[in-house]
Amino acid sequence: MFAYYLDLALRSLKRNRLLTVLMVLAIAIGIGASMTTLTVMHLLSGDPLPGKSANIFYPQVDASPKGFTKGGPLDVLDYRSAVDLWGAHRADRQALIANSDVKVRAPGTNLPPLMLHMLATTSDFFPMFNVPFEYGSAWTPSDDADRARVAVISSDLNDKLFGGKDSVGKTLRLKDSDVRIVGVLARWRPSPLFYDVRGGRFANGDTGDFYRRSEDVFTPFQSGLEINAGNFWQFTCWHMPDNPGHLKNAPCVWVALWVELDSAAKATDYRTFIASYAEQQKVLGRFTQTETRMMNLMQWLDYNHVLPRDVKLQTWLAFAFLAICLFNTVGLLLAKFLRRAGEIGVRRALGASRRAVFAQCLTEAGLVGFIGGVGGWVLTLVGLWLVRRQQPPYSDLVHMDVSMFFVTFVLAVAVSLLAGALPALRASRIAPALQLKTL
């Protein structure tokens, strides 16, 4: 029966080409616009650590003087608090991170020196965040303690400096120090770059930069601080530091701590631990306030509004546009079906049930949707190409994956069936006698 309806639908669509083209075009444009924005949204709003993000937490305490901030602790930690909390080793895994730019040279190559983002972190960073290695491995906890001159580099940097070959054991010159490469990452593109997310609520929705690539050089925390002294970025300071870039004893926050806690009980314990730490520091006179906070990874990303405002705005816009296309299609389908009132009257008189007429009309609507979906898919590819051409920081992430490919067609057919339901209902209610009389 379905094949027969499909055949009827094809004939009907061929009969009035202009109307068919208008309907298919409307659906294709609507689907193209909404799928482009939906795909970008889908790519940017995913969980960067699926299956694990609920166990990753971001503890915060506040060393700033009273009245310096509103609405909870500052986004990152001061050096003392960060190192104290990390050194207590109360979590299953814990990693400190501090960001800087570092001058990198590879002895034995003729490349000019590069300025790259460097992450000073601790050994737990790699297993905690499931960071994949192409060659070698992470450094060990004893390297952290010994301030070993070792480094892990990104696959991008390995391609650039060593042509993608195994460079473990080779030497890299960071600022004025030589470090030994112990590991090379496999391609790793977390989206967003979750562990560096902070300050999102001050970004006015302009958060594209949270989707930049990860750092090119990773060093043990204390080694990094020594090697690249003077180049560290503060998040904020309550007094201007005397010596910009040298932040260890400065009244500034600039170090972040991430912890992994494998059970709810451990998370509760850790909350108690940071609260008691804040109390203790207040007694010691270093803190003036004892407010603490610990969100898990996804809560922290939400709190920072990582999804760029323009992306959300575009998605709303696209769906408003799809709604207009939907109304448009309803009107056109109505016109199309009711124009065939005579034909439908004959079918009804020859014994077709209302249900059969309804099914036939819906089949036709669905076919329009499917053809519109093909057009929409092509337009989505064009749309994504346009997004890439704008070169946002996440442009290398923008592509259509399999799930979005199917969503395109499901959405197109669903929209057209929705659009077709009312006209089909109207068509199935046509009284056969009245139509036959006029024939």
Binding site: L22, I29, G30, N204, M240, L317, I324, L334, R339, P392
Partner: protein
């Protein structure tokens, strides 16, 4: 034209009428809001920088220690000044639309009680303010003995130039000359007023805050280094920029040229507003597609109605209605439907705008957008209905005598 029969006919086609009206309503709401957002983005992009952008470029160096600064600067500036076409090469920490190195909160009293806002400190060496081309409208330009050596962020005390926007914000209605601002241990006295000097990052700030800048004269040294401002004839600028990068690369091969931030100011400005430009382009695309789809919908449905009413039209013609009567019938019908849609659309437009203001910090919809949107949609409706209506007016009266 009698409206009564048209309304009676529309009442028989309530569903289709409602559909077109709703489509028009949505189109009206999206059209008004999207146009307002486009205007907002375009006005942000047109911001006055107050400097001679077309004649300026910057070269940024990194990757050396403060101890090496004097030597690096000496070699780099010599190399830059020797590039043919370079009118001046000076040092300034922040660059309009480029590097931002002097953002800090100030107070207007020594005790730090009266917060004045977060402003931008342009810390520049001799000649840099003239090179920028910022216009002084009151007081004086920096003099030779204003430029002090310093360590850290900037000189602890200095005679500064302030933008009139910031002066008006700090001391409304008062003469800013001789007034003072504080920040921790730093303390500055205003000696000049600048017409305009935009922040390096105007986008992150409200329209009022975008020009909260001051110029602090300072002597180049370990903490004012590697951020060069080049001035050249606008026609030569791209060539000068290329040559300058080559010259610096040769003069100081051991340091890193920050190529991402070393550009002409027109290029930097272009880059800063990339996002706004693409959003405005997208909105324009949506508006065009939207008007197109709406017009198609009207054409489709009007054609259907004309086909459906062929017989009635024939009867009317046979009874003495002229072609113009038939034409006007369909035009009036379209006008009524569109008007109905527009009334809904205006309410929807204001509602959507309120929601957008709440969730997306979009500015309030200027009310004059609504009548403009209304006229556009009326025109669109009349244009779209014209072809089907003309076809209707061409239906011959003889149709009335046929049975089908």
């Amino acid at each position: 034209m009698q409206i009564q029969p048209i309304l009676a006919a529309l009442r028989k086609h309530r569903l289709a009428t409602m559909l077109i009206a709703l489509e028009i309503a949505l189109a009206c709401a999206v059209l008004c809001n999207a146009s307002s957002m486009i205007a907002d983005r375009l006005s942000a992009m047109r911001i006055q920088s107050g400097v001679d952008e077309a004649a300026l470029a910057t070269v940024q160096l990194t990757g050396y220690t403060p101890a090496q600064a004097a030597d690096v600067d000496a070699r780099a500036i010599t190399a830059l000044r020797s590039v043919p076409g370079v009118q001046s090469a000076t040092l300034v920490n922040s660059i309009p639309f480029g590097m931002r190195r002097g953002t800090a909160g100030i107070t207007t009293d020594a005790a730090g009680q009266h917060f004045g806002g977060v402003i931008e400190f342009y810390v520049g060496g001799p000649g840099s303010l003239q090179a920028l081309g910022a216009q002084i409208i009151a007081g004086r330009a920096p003099q030779a003995d204003d430029f002090h050596a310093f360590t850290g962020l900037m000189p602890e005390t200095a005679s500064i130039q302030i933008t009139q926007a910031l002066a008006e914000h700090l001391w409304p209605g008062a003469n800013p000359l001789g007034k003072e601002i504080w920040l921790d241990k730093w303390h500055f006295r205003v000696v000049g007023v600048l017409k305009d000097l935009v922040r390096p990052d105007p986008q992150g700030w409200t329209a009022e805050q975008r020009e909260w800048s001051v110029f602090v004269p300072a002597a180049p040294g370990p903490y004012l280094t590697g951020s060069y401002l080049l001035r050249a004839d606008p026609k030569d600028l791209p060539r000068v920029m290329r040559d300058a990068l080559l010259a610096v690369g040769k003069a100081v091969p051991e340091v890193v040229i920050d190529r991402e931030d070393s550009h002409t100011l027109p290029d930097l400005r272009h880059e800063v507003f990339r996002q706004d430009r693409s959003m405005a382009g997208l909105l324009i695309g949506v508006i065009v597609a939207l008007l197109g789809v709406t017009a198609f919908g009207i054409v489709g449905l009007a054609s259907f109605w004309v086909a459906q009413r062929r017989k009635q039209i024939g009867i009317r013609r046979a009874l003495g209605a002229t072609r113009a009567d038939i034409l006007h019938y369909f035009q009036t019908e379209n006008f009524l439907i569109v008007t109905f849609g527009i009334v809904l659309g205006i309410i929807l437009a204001i509602g959507i705008n309120l929601a957008l203001m709440k969730f997306f910090e979009v500015p309030r919809l200027p009310l004059w957008y609504l009548p403009v949107g209304v006229i556009v949609l009326w025109a669109l409706g009349q244009l779209a209905v014209l072809v089907p209506a003309l076809r209707a007016s061409n239906v011959p009266p003889v149709v009335a005598t046929r049975s089908v």
